[in-house]
């Protein structure tokens, strides 16, 4: 069996309260006593019982990563792997743990919300890639559950951590323009996600800044999947004249786009320039290696965890908003016109 506070107290010849103080670093304990208690603790390998602690403190030291049903098909995108990595790192640094909440169906969403949140498994929640109009946001807000969104959200009450998507897209398209391209297409993300909408906005801003008219024909909405990227690229290639460069709003879609170009018997970057978004690990291994906008995905997750834990512990009354900066990574899918 395993030890309790009581056991440690007996072994160290003090009371349970004192041991508790030692474990929780309370100031009022005589150094000599503190030391002896620690010694016993290490000797027997005592670890406080999480559930008992939770019951007493009303905190679990666990947060959840919520991935809504709407984006669960995107889950195999390396973006999420990196995000998860970052979040766990952030958690561990703050003595927190991460629980997963992947929704597959609306019914599951309802069920899990009750099971995880209302039964107080979690102290708070990281919301990944939610749609702008996701009802989950309102619910968390009204239930007073601390949460932070990955990606901008318009409601003034929600805290979020984001990468500047408008700036990232601008950087990408600016570069294409610098290379002499003027007929530049884009494959967007879902426009009801802030990342999708913002990258499109950046695309437009870059064009306008250079007095290039925005041609709606050159804008095709994608879905952040490889298959979607392939189909969207095929559409762009069927245009006449076709674009000489395309800004693709995610690396995963860019992989599909690359294949569409090849299927059409064209070459990248000689016939058409391509630039992706994310810089997932695969990007450097594509053929040719993909130029892209690097997002600090892992740091994004880490930051989200930290912000959330702060929200939980210091109970901020006003929303926290943080935006990180992306950077352009030039490889071999872009060429002078």
């Amino acid at each position: 069996m395993s030890y309790t506070l009581e056991d440690i107290a007996r072994l160290a010849g003090v009371s349970r309260s004192t041991v508790s103080r030692v474990v929780n670093n309370h100031p009022n304990v005589r150094p000599a006593v503190r030391e002896r208690v620690w010694e016993v603790i290490h000797q027997v390998g005592y670890q406080p019982h999480a559930a008992a602690r939770s019951l007493a403190t009303n905190r679990t030291n666990v947060i959840g990563l919520v991935i809504p049903e709407a984006v669960s098909t995107l889950f195999t995108d390396p973006f999420f792997s990196l995000l998860i990595r970052g979040i766990t790192d952030g958690c561990y640094a703050r003595n927190y743990h991460l629980m997963l909440a992947l929704f597959s169906t609306p019914a599951q969403e309802e069920d899990l919300y009750n099971r995880l949140l209302r039964s107080r498994y979690l102290d708070g929640v990281v919301l990944a890639s939610t749609r702008l109009d996701d009802p989950l946001v309102g619910r968390l807000l009204s239930d007073g559950i601390p949460f932070v969104s990955i990606g901008r959200h318009p409601d003034p009450r929600v805290s979020y951590v984001d990468v500047d998507n408008v700036a990232g897209a601008r950087m990408a398209v600016d570069h294409l323009i610098r290379l002499g391209h003027t007929r530049i297409g884009t494959i967007t993300g879902p426009l009801n996600m802030s990342a999708g909408a913002d990258r499109l906005e950046g695309y437009k801003q870059a064009l306008q800044a250079h007095h290039i008219p925005v041609d709606e024909q050159l804008i095709v909405e994608g879905d952040f999947t490889e298959g979607g990227g392939l189909a969207s690229m095929a559409r762009l290639l069927s245009l006449d004249p076709r674009p000489t460069a395309v800004f693709v709003a995610s690396d995963t879609m860019a992989m599909g786009a690359l294949r569409a170009v090849r299927q059409a018997g064209l070459r990248v970057p000689q016939d058409i320039s391509l630039i992706g978004y994310d810089d997932v690990p695969q990007a450097a291994f594509l053929d040719p290696p993909l130029s892209t906008v690097r997002q600090p995905i892992q740091r994004l997750g880490e930051t989200a965890a930290h912000v959330l834990v702060d929200l939980i512990t210091h109970g901020q009354d006003h929303a926290q908003r943080l935006v990180l900066m992306p950077e352009l990574v030039l490889r071999q899918t872009t060429a002078r016109l």
Copy 2:
């Protein structure tokens, strides 16, 4: 604030025990009473407090997914995304939840082991892709923590769920032989993981069954990464004569291999046939679409969760071992010699 058993009891005009019985589906409750209690519960949206319950029952209804430091660099492989998906589905079906334990360093491994397991956050653990000699196994065993390994493990006490890697590799290599190839190379996984060792074994068995001598030169050890696949393939291509077909032990490595072939100015499958392993979602979108061995990864995870929960609840005394079957998926990277 939120309701407790006591509140529900008062509102329904019964005692706390009765409400507890209703919630836990104990038989001895008069139907009329049961119904009235449920009504109150639904009306006020009562949810039992997880921590309180854990303290009383000594069970948390949470399991952990442990990804050892050794394989944490592989974490972005879609294999893990699919596995996680499967595990969560399996958990939800059994009223369980999933917590992540991703180790980055040995120190973290030690720390997390204490924080997660010894403080009883978890009822049990799924061990992913552990090396055959991982000390974690011995520790879990001696601490009596229920766990199931993803992938075969030699110790008779450990439960595992696996896909038949020997059979899968045999299927793949058999097919290459059927196409007329005899000079067949392989890029293996890490040979200290069962998946790596077993797929190599299957490769050898297939050759031997057809009386083709095993040539050690044609066997190069990979690491399940894309970069590793690229480098290993380059080595195989430098052989003289070079192999006419290669069995690559993971799709991710196959992506790298594909690129190595292209860099060498060769074509797949005209100059060299390739066959991968896993059938990750990307495989169908590669250029050309990858022939591969499909693993039911998601079902693997789901099954692991079920086995683990059974282990936890029924406390099996003997280890559970389950092996699922892979299947060959022929696309366009294999051709007759």
